[in-house]
């Protein structure tokens, strides 16, 4: 089991900041590139939600698994996926993390524990649960994180999966990233009980709600849940409250649209996870953050250059890989 070496608190905060900034700058680059039409893949951006991905993934060991969603750039980056292969995947290139077959919605980096991402809401909740069953059956120390949005709790498989995980005491942490909207539909328009973390109480799943804009809070609460799951204490549900800055899909913002709460824009600005962490780091007199941004900028430049210079998959490979070869 690869575990991270012990970090000081300041190091840890800097690591969270670095991950969040990487997500932010990578997605800002996607927005900048999008009009060129080089990225012909629908993008679901997670700007404003970086603290959840960063805090959750930093609390997991590399060998711990995460199953994500179509809004997956954040967890891909935070789990340690290669940035060049992510951009190449967005470009549909053969060097992409799914060889151009998946695109933005189906990022995968199994080498660092990102098993996959799905474009079906709640589609991977049972899959993550089964992965945790495998871990339990194998006596593996790995913990599985099922990462999904607030729309996923509308689906039946969420409850079916939770029931099974609780029944078997599986090593899984259910993370609900609540950005307030399932596409354009608000939580109160879909649920009488808007405390989503309480929805599974009757099934015996303990839940709690936390600030999803402060990466330190996410990291701390997630770390506790992961440690408990690893000790065999069974699953928990963590609900993190955050804000979606962009439209559901695409590079634009849509704060002006009627479905949005009029205060969304100010709420987003006042709860920018990067500003929150920056302020904390500056109070502590941490390293020069400009240098971090410059370094990440260079990494993104290199990733985009890699994507642009990579070849498309050969047309002859269209039918390849539908079935795995016998081992």
């Amino acid at each position: 089991m690869k575990t991270r070496t012990a970090r000081t608190l300041a190091d840890n905060d800097l690591a969270l900041y670095r991950l969040m900034l990487k997500i932010r700058l990578a997605e800002e680059r996607i927005v900048a590139l999008y009009p060129s039409d080089k990225i012909q893949s629908p993008v679901h951006l997670s700007v404003g939600q970086e603290a959840v991905a960063a805090g959750v993934c930093l609390a997991l060991a590399t060998d711990d698994h995460l199953h994500g969603t179509y809004r997956g750039h954040g967890v891909y980056i935070a789990k340690g996926g290669d940035l060049g292969r992510m951009f190449a995947e967005l470009y549909g290139k053969d060097t992409g993390c799914a060889r151009g077959r998946g695109g933005s919605m189906h990022l995968a980096a199994p080498e660092v524990g990102l098993v996959g991402c799905s474009a079906i809401v709640a589609g991977l909740i049972p899959v993550a649960t089964g992965d945790a069953l495998a871990a339990q059956m194998q006596g593996s120390p790995r913990v599985v994180c099922s990462f999904f949005g607030d729309g996923a709790v509308d689906e039946g498989v969420f409850y079916e999966s939770v029931n099974f995980a609780v029944l078997k005491g599986l090593p899984i942490v259910y993370v609900c990233e609540n950005n307030g909207y399932a596409i354009h539909s608000r939580v109160p328009d879909r649920h009488k009980q808007t405390d989503l973390f309480r929805l599974t109480e009757g099934l015996g799943l303990r839940g709690s709600r936390h600030d999803g804009n402060d990466a330190r809070v996410v990291f701390k609460t997630m770390s506790r849940a992961v440690a408990a799951a690893r000790r065999g204490k069974g699953p928990v549900l963590l609900e993190y409250m955050t804000n979606r800055w962009h439209e559901h899909v695409g590079p634009g913002t849509d704060f002006q649209e009627a479905y949005r709460h009029p205060k969304d824009r100010t709420r987003a600005a006042q709860n920018d996870p990067l500003r929150i962490m920056e302020a904390a780091l500056k109070r502590r007199g941490a390293a020069r953050l400009d240098a971090v941004a410059a370094e990440i900028g260079r990494e993104i430049d290199a990733a985009v250059a890699f994507a642009e210079s990579s070849p498309f998959p050969p047309v002859e490979s269209l039918l390849a890989g539908l079935y795995a070869e016998s081992r």
Binding site: H65, H67, G96, C97, A98, R99, G100, R101, G102, H106, A108, P110, V115, G116, S118, I120, G123, L124, I125, P126, V127, A128, T129, G130, D131, A132, L133, A134, A135, M137, Q138, V144, G156, V157, E160, S161, N163, F164, L167, A320, G321, L322, Y323, A324, E325, S326, R327
Partner: protein, 345 residues
């Protein structure tokens, strides 16, 4: 090779036991796998033999449980998910189609889903609209799944073993009326490769392509046809994905006539696919139009006379064959449906 005489269910039992002894990653899950009925005896004694961790009942949550099987497969296990009625698979289609079938290609070959699903087509008598369906054509329509319909005990044992060894998702459809069939099976069990049609009976006047229970009915029809001067060749595809196209075309080239009989509906069905194969690649061999038989285009009724009219049988298969050859149905007692089924399930 040493052989043993087993019925269909016993052959499945032997294959599962063999696979589970050989590979600790293989496990069984499904509604009732650990109860006293043991899915028609196919999992009998396994809880005691392999433990509750590897043989467990599930909540009645086909959607999530299929996803859980997919996840366990991705996590390094080899689940065999068992459904006592194939109709329940419709509850699992999201996970089957959107995840199991797609994972290998969608991930650029990063991972695959070594999942086996056993599902029993419940036709016996009176099982009605939702306990008798044959979903093979729906499954064939989805690239990424493999689909097998074993007919004999040897098929059932060999294909199940091959399915468990396969790194891809495989659905095995077991017809309820085949459970009483007895036959010789290899002992110890050996895997039978997918994609090889079996000529169940050689003939020269027409080819009848029929699988599973329809192969059994077609064999009876062929016997009757033979008594009245018609030589039918029965080709059983055994696996529908992959389909042994060459095997079917080879028989067609020999006989020039093709009748396809399927246990499902004909519209966009397995029979339509095989008829299209003949039209596209076997047209020069055809000396008569292709004909098809399948379930009537309505829901399965319970009332006995209606139910009998709903399904193809040896009699209707024989009648179709005579008609294709421009012959009148002989004045002789037609073969009856083989059905030792006594109920209730």
């Amino acid at each position: 090779m040493k052989t043993k005489r087993l019925n269909y269910g016993q052959a499945i039992h032997a294959a599962l036991a063999h696979a589970m002894e050989k590979d600790p990653a293989v496990f069984l899950m499904g509604i009732g796998v650990d109860d006293h009925k043991a899915v028609f005896g196919t999992t009998k004694g396994f809880v005691g033999r392999f433990g509750r961790k590897r043989v467990f009942d599930t909540p009645i949550s086909e959607g999530a449980m299929t996803g859980i099987a997919v996840g366990a497969a991705l996590g390094g296990m080899k689940p065999v998910h068992i459904h006592i009625r194939a109709d329940f698979l419709y509850l699992a289609m999201d996970q089957l189609i959107n995840n199991a079938a797609k994972w290998s290609a969608m991930s650029g070959g990063r991972a695959s889903v070594p999942l086996v699903i056993r599902a029993v087509i419940g036709r016996s008598w009176g099982q009605g609209a939702q306990h008798s369906q044959s979903p093979q054509s729906l499954l064939m329509n989805v690239p990424g799944l493999k689909v097998a319909m074993p007919t004999t005990p040897a098929d059932a044992q060999g294909l199940l073993l091959a399915a468990i060894e396969d790194p891809n998702p495989v659905v095995l459809l077991e017809h309820r009326l085949l459970y009483d069939i007895v036959g010789d099976v290899p002992d110890p069990p050996v895997a039978v490769p997918f994609g090889r049609a079996v000529v169940r009976r050689a003939g020269s006047d027409l080819t009848i392509v029929a699988g599973a229970h329809m192969a059994i009915e077609s064999l009876k029809a062929a016997e009757f046809l033979a008594k009245h001067g018609v030589s039918a060749e029965i080709v059983d595809p055994v696996t529908l994905v992959p389909l042994d196209r060459a095997g079917i075309l080879h028989s067609l080239a020999k006989t020039g006539r093709l009748l396809v009989v399927d246990s499902g509906w004909t519209t966009c069905g397995a029979s339509a696919e095989i008829a299209a194969l003949a039209a596209e690649q076997g047209f020069d061999s055809l000396t008569a139009p292709v004909r098809r038989l399948g379930m009537q285009p309505t829901v399965c009724p319970v009332s006995k006379p209606l139910e009998q009219a709903f399904y193809p049988s040896a009699k209707t298969i024989a009648a179709e064959a005579f008609s294709m050859l421009g012959r009148a149905f002989p004045d002789a007692p037609a073969p009856e449906l083989t059905n030792a089924f006594k109920g209730p399930f």
